[in-house]
């Protein structure tokens, strides 16, 4: 299958390989989420005792997987793109385009990391500076909002780093290498 054959992009460097390995954890999270939903259906329908935690846990696990999946695809260079012009130009121009795209994406991720830091600080500390994690406000009331917001910040930082490494390696790599990993 095309997606599995595609491994981490060589330009992604060691960080890319770590991100690729880390994927197992979040992929397992998706399977676990399916199991929890099934358990919830079972407990509710058969025993008439729905849990308070199943839906929020499932959403949490999938939320983490969604965020990590974005980083995972950056490391694999598998995000969807329009290659109409990109494919038509020569390898030299393409190499510079790769550098430019990586730098622009780096800047964007950097801005978002900064913005999510503002969000995270509100989710982890009260306005007076006391530590308290923002909770969901439900009957179970887990601190998932704070955790997911914090995880988003980590993902954006990792993404910025990954784009930095990509920009650097595209700049360094010979032109023909750069075209090997395109979608």
């Amino acid at each position: 299958m095309s997606e599995l054959a595609k491994r981490v992009a060589p330009e992604a460097g060691r960080l890319g390989r770590i991100i690729d390995k880390g994927g197992y954890v979040f992929a397992a999270g998706i399977v676990l989420a399916a199991g929890i939903l099934l358990l919830e259906v079972f407990l509710r329908y058969v025993f008439n005792s729905p849990t308070l935690w199943a839906h929020e846990t499932t959403t949490f696990l999938c939320g983490l997987a969604f965020l990590y999946g974005g980083l995972f695809c950056v490391a694999r260079n598998s995000h969807i793109r329009v290659v109409l012009i990109y494919d038509a130009i020569g390898p030299r121009a393409r190499r510079w385009l790769n550098v430019a795209i990586s730098i622009l994406s780096l800047i964007a991720s950097g801005f978002f990391a900064f913005a999510s830091w503002i969000m995270v600080s509100k989710a982890f500390w009260t306005p007076t500076g006391d530590f308290r994690m923002e909770t969901s406000g439900s009957a179970w009331n887990p601190p998932t909002p704070a955790l997911v917001k914090g995880f988003l910040l980590l993902m954006l930082i990792a993404m910025a780093l990954q784009f930095l490494i990509l920009a650097f390696n595209y700049l360094r790599a010979p032109a023909d290498r750069a075209s090997e990993t395109d979608v």
Binding site: M1, S2, E3, L4, G23, Y24, A27, I30, V31, A33, A34, G35, L37, L38, V41, Y45, H55, T58, T59, F60, C62, G63, A65, F66, L67, Y68, G69, G70, L71, F72, C73, S78, H79, I80, R81, V82, V83, L84, I85, Y86, L97, I101, L104, S105, A108, F111, F112, F114, A115, S116, I118, M119, T144, P145, V148, K149, L152, L156, D182, V183
Partner: protein, 438 residues
């Protein structure tokens, strides 16, 4: 950093054009789509409102990934990955050939029926297209179907999830317009089925009028024992479908939970067939992660763009477009349709609903038109938006799992006839509102 440009002085009209222009320009560089929309949102947020507006984007990212209804997307993708790795998908399509084999284009027609059944199991799009893209597309290509037809069938059929009830588009419309969701579901049933029938007729006409579109029917009669062997391939998939639909319609599981029932059913099927292994589960889960990473981040980019565009006054812009156009209700509805088509090219349906519904629904009610009929019309219009380039989510979802030699350009070209059929359905709904049964 504070605002750089005075957006109020430039006006929302020109800003909209700039926004679209920048988006298309960046897309053409080959920048990943998700980062194009995120970057455009960022640029406009910073230029118009300064860095303090950027948290809008991160806040919307957070909300998007923490939404319960999207849980069904990874479930459908996981189901697809498991079906693909087991022999179930192949057996299913071989068996389908047995039933529809007498007909030219029979398997493509059956794929549309599978799509309708999937649509009755799901309220959103994304999951079904990925599922059909992984299962039906390779099988149709293997059997010698025309590539463009196979691609179109998968994308158009897979989009039916929001037209056939249950549908999140109709639910959100109902909550926004304050009309009965039950009435919307009832009214959408025939139009949804009508659209599916358009696809079927198109497949058959094309298969019989042109050579090399669909494989010719097998002239040699198959021995009975062979037939029974093939038909066995249908049993497990049909049982899974039965359990998923049954769990929804018997009130055992919510629509989102039912997607997990599907995963459980498929896993159990692989165990029964003796195909289950931990490696298969792990590989399927990894593929799910890679696929949802692509799909979800496209959605993230779209939601970011909508938030910033609403901040810029997008809703006011739509309202300005609508003021004083005509007294004729038909003209007004047609203008609305035109606006929806244009927005559908660039935005996702959630954004379109947010932008247009506050303006359109009160107008429809004032004109004395039926808001339920309009809701179905809106859902039909969103079918077009899923396929229309440059922002056609259905194409992106398929691209995320299609063989690498199928380019986005080819997918969009393949979708054109199906878009025409959808536009025809929109036209019929306007000309004959009675199709909704109201």
């Amino acid at each position: 950093m504070s605002a750089v440009l005075d957006f109020a002085a430039i006006g929302i009209g020109p800003l909209t054009l700039w926004m679209f222009g920048l988006m298309v320009a960046l897309l053409l560089t080959g920048m990943p789509l998700a980062f194009v929309t995120l970057l455009v949102a960022l640029v406009f947020a910073v230029l118009g409102y300064g860095t303090m507006a950027v948290p809008i984007i991160t806040s919307r990212i957070y909300t998007f990934v923490e939404s319960f209804v999207f849980v069904s997307v990874p479930m459908f993708v996981l189901m697809a990955a498991l079906l693909d790795r087991s022999g179930i998908a192949r057996d299913l399509f071989d068996a389908m050939k047995l039933i529809g084999g007498r007909l030219r284009g029979g398997v493509a027609v059956q794929t549309i029926f599978v799509a309708v059944v999937l649509a009755a199991m799901s309220g959103i799009i994304g999951g079904e297209i990925v599922l059909l893209g992984m299962i039906a597309l390779p099988q149709m290509l293997r059997q010698g179907y025309d590539r463009k037809l196979a691609i179109g069938v998968v994308c158009a059929g897979g989009s039916l999830g929001t037209m056939v009830p249950p549908s999140i588009v109709l639910i959100i419309y109902g909550l926004t317009a304050n009309v009965s969701i039950g009435d919307l579901f009832t009214a959408a049933f025939i139009p949804g089925f009508m659209l599916a029938m358009f696809y079927v007729v198109y497949i058959l006409v094309l298969s019989y009028s042109r050579p090399n579109i669909a494989p010719p029917p097998d002239p040699v009669p198959m021995p009975g024992a062979e037939k029974i062997k093939l038909l066995k391939g249908l049993i497990l998939p049909l049982l899974v479908v039965f359990f998923v639909l049954g769990s929804i319609y018997a009130g055992i599981a919510s629509v989102t939970e039912a997607s997990a029932v599907g995963v459980g059913g498929v896993l159990l099927s692989t165990v029964l067939r003796g195909e289950f292994s931990l490696k298969m589960l792990r590989d399927s889960a990894m593929q799910t992660l890679a696929t949802v990473g692509m799909i979800v981040w496209i959605g993230i980019g779209a939601t970011a763009l909508v938030g910033v565009y609403n901040l810029m006054g997008g809703i006011r812009f739509i309202s300005e477009l609508m003021t004083g156009i005509s007294d004729n209700p038909t003209v007004i509805v047609l203008v609305m349709m035109a606006i929806l088509f244009v927005l559908g090219a660039f935005l996702d349906w959630v954004g379109i609903a947010l932008l247009t519904m506050p303006i359109f629904v009160p107008i429809i009610k004032t004109l004395g038109l039926d808001p339920v009929w309009f809701g179905v019309l809106f859902a039909m219009n969103m079918q077009v938006s899923f396929l229309s380039p440059p922002f056609g989510p259905a194409a992106f979802y398929l691209k995320s799992v299609a063989p690498p030699d199928i380019s986005l350009g080819e997918i969009f070209r393949s979708l054109l006839p199906f878009i025409a059929l959808q536009v025809l359905a929109v036209g019929l709904l306007i000309a004959f509102p009675g199709i909704t049964g109201r």
